[in-house]
């Protein structure tokens, strides 16, 4: 026990000796946590629409006005021809082209039906499908208005009609920040924790000071614990600062018990730090450590369920995400912060992360060799 205390003292001194790293560890997550959630918004709004009106009738004008007033579209202007409008799409100045053919109004009135043409920039498939469905809905509504002008629909609806109502639970105002802030906090915590521990032992290898530790009677477990505990404390500090920022700037108050978050993070940090230690036990230079850590973390983060939903992934990718610790913490954060889940709801997640922590750390202890 005494050995551990001395080791801890050494590690803390080492950390505090380098104010540059200390600053980075805290300032970078803070700045990112303040700025990035503002940028994270999937909502499709301000779809840029180029209109090619070849009809110039009162109907076409009515339709365009209706689209304009919907609030979802930004009219980039009227183009004289489809080719002109297509140039705008090529330069990203327009997302959707709506072409109203000549004699649109006349055809509609005389032949009972008329066509419109819509071309959508579909490089971003989601934006394309949502934007075009907005436009379709507006056109359908307009269609209904036109019909009402010409025919009297019966007052009593003799067709069966299914109405739907929808409600949004846990986040009534559909606030994206409530969704993003806890997620981004998890990512920052993971980045800081894994990178620093991955680089730590390797640094001693590179400078050669690891020799000095290897010739002491310090047990491997103590050595690893000595590396683990300081960063574990740092991690909890980063988490606390992050939670304060979430509360002060974004007004996010966890609806569940905040203790659950700390309970989970204390196990989670062990797992993440264990991963870092494991990496550093196998590599020889900090550069290698960074590359491996970067490789794993990029996959963990992008497949963590924050940016894209896990259910949409193909089967094999969903299996991969089960081995991704980030997934579990993001899920738990969301459950506790937004849904007010209780201990029994997050217990399965906690169990899995505990297994991660035990496996990774014992592996790290085994992999660390005192002889070269």
């Amino acid at each position: 026990m005494k050995t551990l205390r001395f080791l801890l003292e050494k590690e803390f001194r080492q950390i505090f000796r380098d104010p540059a790293i200390l600053r980075m560890m805290f300032i970078m997550p803070v700045i990112q946590l303040i700025i990035l959630p503002l940028a994270a918004n999937y909502e499709v709004r301000n779809v840029k629409l180029a209109v090619v009106d070849l009809d110039h009738s009162s109907y076409s004008r009515q339709l365009v006005n209706k689209i304009k007033s919907s609030g979802y579209f930004l009219l980039t202007g009227f183009s004289p021809s489809f080719d002109e409008a297509f140039k705008q799409v090529e330069l990203d100045q327009a997302d959707i082209i709506l072409e109203i053919p000549a004699n649109f109004e006349k055809t509609l009135v005389r032949e009972n039906k008329a066509g419109l043409f819509m071309a959508v920039n579909a490089i971003n498939g989601v934006k394309a499908s949502i934007g075009s469905s907005y436009l379709n809905t507006i056109i359908r509504d307009y269609n209904q208005e036109v019909r009402l002008q010409w025919i009297q629909l019966p007052k009593f609806n003799n067709e069966p009609r299914i109405q739907t109502t929808s409600s949004n639970w846990f986040n009534v105002h559909m606030n994206y920040q409530k969704f993003m802030v806890p997620g981004i906090l998890v990512i920052l915590l993971t980045l800081v924790g894994a990178f620093l521990t991955a680089a730590n032992i390797v640094k001693e290898k590179e400078i050669g000071t690891i020799e000095q530790i290897n010739v002491t009677p310090v047990k491997k477990v103590y050595f690893i614990l000595g590396k683990l505990i300081p960063f574990w404390i740092m991690g909890q500090l980063v988490l606390t600062i992050g939670m304060i920022i979430g509360r002060v700037i974004y007004g996010i108050v966890p609806s569940g018990n905040i203790g659950l978050i700390y309970l989970f993070s204390s196990v989670y940090l062990l797992a993440v730090l264990g991963l870092g230690l494991l990496i550093s036990a196998y590599v020889h230079t900090q550069q290698q450590a960074m590359l491996i850590a970067f490789f794993l973390l990029m996959i963990f983060i992008l497949m963590g369920g924050l940016y894209t939903s896990i259910e949409s992934m193909p089967e094999w990718a969903q299996i991969v995400t089960r081995f991704n610790p980030v997934t579990y913490f993001i899920d738990v954060m969301r459950m506790v912060v937004l849904k007010g889940s209780r201990l029994k709801d997050i217990l399965p997640h906690l169990g899995i992360i505990a297994i991660f922590a035990v496996v990774l750390n014992s592996w790290a202890v085994l992999a660390y060799k005192k002889r070269s």
Partner: protein, 368 residues
């Protein structure tokens, strides 16, 4: 010149000696393009939902079957009581709950109107909106079927064409984005660490004391990474064409030229970081923790930039990946020529010159 080549050679030896790094360096982009090309999609599919159906009549079961059969939904649980709804959400099992009224079919046939309730888990607002609208669409379809194919007068038909990506594949958006991320982060990280390592070990002094000009010493460090990046560009492009079936519509030389330009921008960014830091740990903290998320978020491939608050839109202009992402989309997918991306190319070139100038100015060739 001969001396310079000798230095470049030395750097190559450094990299070559470290087989482990080399393997990761080449393997990483391949693995990532594969994973993201296949696994990442913004689309919402197979969302788990719960159904509470007290009526269990022919209409409600048909509708439920329709919903289950669609590729968007997977029915996980059949609930029995209202009270179970909240628990199902809390446990995180479901994203949407569908609640039928007591007598669905009877209401529908007798009073001609009935109401279905959707409850969405809006802790993820994006998925909530999407799922609700998908569910609505299925209900609408079912209703139209009930109404029969009565022909309505004065119908506006909309003909729709999806440009560039008719199947709405996620890869069209993600491949250019991941390309930008990998090139930027790998180059920045590798150069900054390579230089700072020499500083940390003290070997930088030896290099600076050599007859070669200090600036050339630094440039010689970046050259091998430029070559390695070109190999990466090649493997990424080959994979996206042959495995992800993403066509290169525009000119290949132009695309490669722009990629080299972007690589050089990233390398100069690495040079700048290395000139202002003294330890490898700080260098990598800046180049990874500091740049990972901003690159991801401000390049425009995850979140539409036009939805961000104005100050952030301004900030996004400083992110090189944003311009490269635009260029790759324009050349690779839209097939445009140099004329359409002149502005973006000049911005990248300008950034490179600026970063290079700044790092030369900041570089201390004498010991403090």
């Amino acid at each position: 010149m001969k001396q310079f080549i000798a230095f470049v050679k030395k750097e190559f030896y450094h990299i070559w000696r470290d087989k482990q790094t080399l393997l990761i360096l080449f393997g990483m982009p391949i693995a990532q393009i594969m994973i993201f090309g296949f696994a990442l999609t913004n689309e919402v599919k197979n969302a788990k939902i719960a159904v509470l159906d007290p009526s269990k009549d022919i209409a409600s079961t048909t509708l439920t079957q329709r919903i289950d059969a669609s590729r968007y939904f997977d029915i996980m649980i059949n609930l029995q009581t209202q009270a179970e709804i909240e628990d199902a959400f809390r446990e995180g099992k479901i994203k949407l709950a569908i609640i039928y009224p007591q007598r669905f079919r009877e209401d529908l046939m007798q009073s001609n109107t009935t109401t279905i309730q959707f409850i969405a888990d809006a802790s993820d607002p994006n998925t909530a909106t999407t799922l609700t609208s998908y569910a609505n669409a299925i209900v609408q379809d079912y209703q139209q079927e009930l109404e029969g194919k009565s022909k309505l007068p004065y119908t506006i038909q909309t003909d729709m064409r999806m440009l560039y990506n008719p199947q709405l594949k996620g890869a069209y958006n993600f491949v250019p984005g991941v390309m930008a991320m990998i090139l930027l982060l790998v180059c920045t990280l590798m150069t900054s660490i390579a230089i700072v390592r020499e500083k940390e070990r003290g070997t930088m002094e030896i290099l600076l004391a050599s007859p070669l000009k200090p600036i050339l010493v630094i440039v010689a460090k970046a050259v091998p990474y430029l070559v390695l990046s070109m190999v990466n560009i090649a493997s990424i492009l080959l994979l996206s064409v042959f495995v992800l079936e993403l066509p290169i519509v525009g000119s290949l030389p132009l695309l490669i030229g722009e990629s080299i330009l972007f690589t050089i921008t990233s390398l100069t960014l690495g040079l700048l970081i290395s000139s202002i830091t003294a330890s490898q740990q700080v260098a990598m903290l800046i180049s990874l923790v500091g740049m990972f998320l901003p690159t991801l978020m401000f390049s425009g491939f995850m979140f539409p930039i036009e939805n961000m608050p104005i100050p952030l839109q301004v900030i996004s202009n400083a992110v090189p990946a944003k311009w490269y992402f635009y260029i790759v989309k324009a050349v690779m997918i839209k097939g445009l020529g140099i004329g359409a991306i002149l502005k973006e190319t000049l911005i990248l070139a300008g950034m490179t010159v600026f970063l290079l100038g700044l790092s030369i100015k900041k570089y201390k060739i004498r010991l403090a």
